[in-house]
Amino acid sequence: MSDRRLPRLLQTPAVILLLLWMLVPLSMTLYFSFIRYVLNSLRRPEWTQPSLSNWRGFGNYEYVLFKAKDFWLAVENSLFIVSSILVATVVLGLALAMLVNRTFPGRGIVRVLLISPFFVMPAVNAVLWINMILDPVLGLNGIAVGAINETVAGLRDFPVLGAFFSLWPVLEPISFRGTDTSAYAVIIMVTWQWTPFAVLIFMTSLQSEDEQQKEAAILDGANAWSRFRNLTLPHLARPIAIVVMIQSIFHLSLYAEIEIVSRGNGNKNLPYLIGEFTSNNIGAASATGIFAVILANIVAIFLLRMVGKNLMD
């Protein structure tokens, strides 16, 4: 009877495709990471083709770790950006989900408005935010700061209050393309895009919360905060874990946002660093790629432990 064989046959194409997708490029990356391989070298033309005779052992890894700049900056920045976005989206998402969980007029529209950013193309998101919103001269950032300054300047002419307002400084709009600020621009735009995702998940989960339990807690005199801490938060533990997992997968490989905001100026993550190496030194790019795979795996093991248990029920 083909009872057991056929189902296995049906999932074979998917398994084989994903296996190839994972193994073929990954083993090539592994190979390239152990040889000298540059795209342009007049001095050593033999290095411009991948070949076993250019074997370098762990030389590329050593180079990336100890000689090349920016590796540790990229690792730190990757983690900084991912964790900031995670904290911001989860906290904001929780607050907003609680807010729209009650019934009020126009709730459906509020929900649709709130969720929309999630569907915006990342490239559009980055171009829109950095040029039209965060830009200190042409964006709303500059216009808003200008308006505040003007208002304050106007208030200075006021009889009594004027003395108070003349103590206010004239504000300068922040440029988000700078070395020390561009990471924040990325965090802001990605948080804008992914908070809706957290809201969507938490909102759905809140709807299945046990209302009777809540009523009982209210009758027992529990205040809103302790109801949230002891009932709602435990109820949301799993959705929070899922939001953290899915977002980590997506944000560890952020690229477009970083390139569009600052071209990596002071704000690289691992994918961006790999992109930079790829313009010439493929060996170093591949070694960095292997480091990125290791980092992703550490995060993945950690995350799958967190949610994996009850994934199937």
Partner: protein, 278 residues
């Protein structure tokens, strides 16, 4: 069950107003983009014309001239549609097998599939470029973009379909088996009609992800198969000169997808969370 309303009258006004305010703030960048697309490039950068200006359709009319919008849009449609179809063709049988004939390894296979999503694209981009350029000669073709889009979304497609199929009572499929329906018949005549909503929203979500994908499509294409993501990335530094035009192109690129997203927001949750959140 009737719930008692404990909200004070202050709260009954305050919270909805807060919710509306925040929702409008969140939507504002999108509104601003659409709004700017009706300004001329000159008006778009003048602070004094923030809200008073003569609306114009010029940006939309000029889209073809300035940006070759239609070529990119056509490529986006072709690649997203075919990649979604391919993902479903591969994904439906796999999810069917896993949901109705699970083996000891099914759970591991599902988790492994998910983990392929965690492989950083940057780590394997160069080999992919090398392979497709030097050996397969498929670089910058629709074929390549379709395959890649299909593969990066396949884990999520299978994951979603599995969740929907699991909700169908096993007995219905078994009854079909008793009546001597073939496996293909089971999928086509029983499973898909029963899980139609799930299959449709999976397709919709997969289409959205394909449409918005930037990393691979930008780097594996030059001109022939380039999609809207590439068009947007190519115009990323307009230095304020072309805000109007850029907004129009951006609006045309994300508009349809945002509207699609509104329709499938509910199903999205179930699929994206492995059904763990109901």
């Amino acid at each position: 069950m009737a719930t008692i309303d404990h909200t004070s009258s202050f709260g009954r006004i305050f919270w909805p107003v807060l919710a509306w305010t925040i929702a409008l703030i969140f939507f504002f960048p999108i509104f601003w983009m659409v709004f700017t697309s009706f300004k001329t490039d000159a008006d778009a950068v003048k602070p004094e014309f923030l809200f008073s200006f003569t609306p114009t359709l010029e940006n939309y009319l000029n889209m073809t001239e300035n940006y070759d919008y239609w070529r990119f849009a056509t490529n986006s449609v072709i690649t997203s549609v075919f990649a979604t179809a391919l993902a479903l063709i591969v994904g439906v049988p796999a999810a069917y097998a896993m949901a109705f004939n699970p083996s000891r390894h099914t759970k591991d296979i599902l988790v492994w599939m998910l983990s392929t999503k965690m492989l950083p694209a940057a780590a394997v981009l160069y080999p992919m470029t090398y392979l497709t350029k030097n050996f397969l000669g498929v670089f910058d073709t629709h074929f390549l973009v379709i395959i890649v889009l299909c593969l990066i979304n396949l884990p999520i497609v299978i994951w979603m379909l599995f969740t929907y199929f699991k909700e169908i009572p096993k007995e219905i499929i078994e009854a079909g088996k008793m009546d001597g329906v073939s496996t293909w018949g089971e999928i086509k005549d029983i499973l898909i009609p029963l899980a139609w909503g799930g299959v449709a929203s999976t397709a919709l979500l997969c289409f959205i992800f394909c449409w918005n994908e930037a990393y691979w499509t930008v780097r594996l294409t030059t001109t022939e198969a380039a999609t809207l993501s590439k068009l947007i990335e190519g115009n990323r530094a307009p230095e304020g000169l072309f805000f109007g035009r850029l907004s129009a192109v951006s609006t045309a690129a994300v508009g349809p997808i945002v509207v699609l997203g509104w329709f499938c927001q509910k199903q999205l949750v179930r699929g994206l969370t492995f059904g763990a959140v109901k």
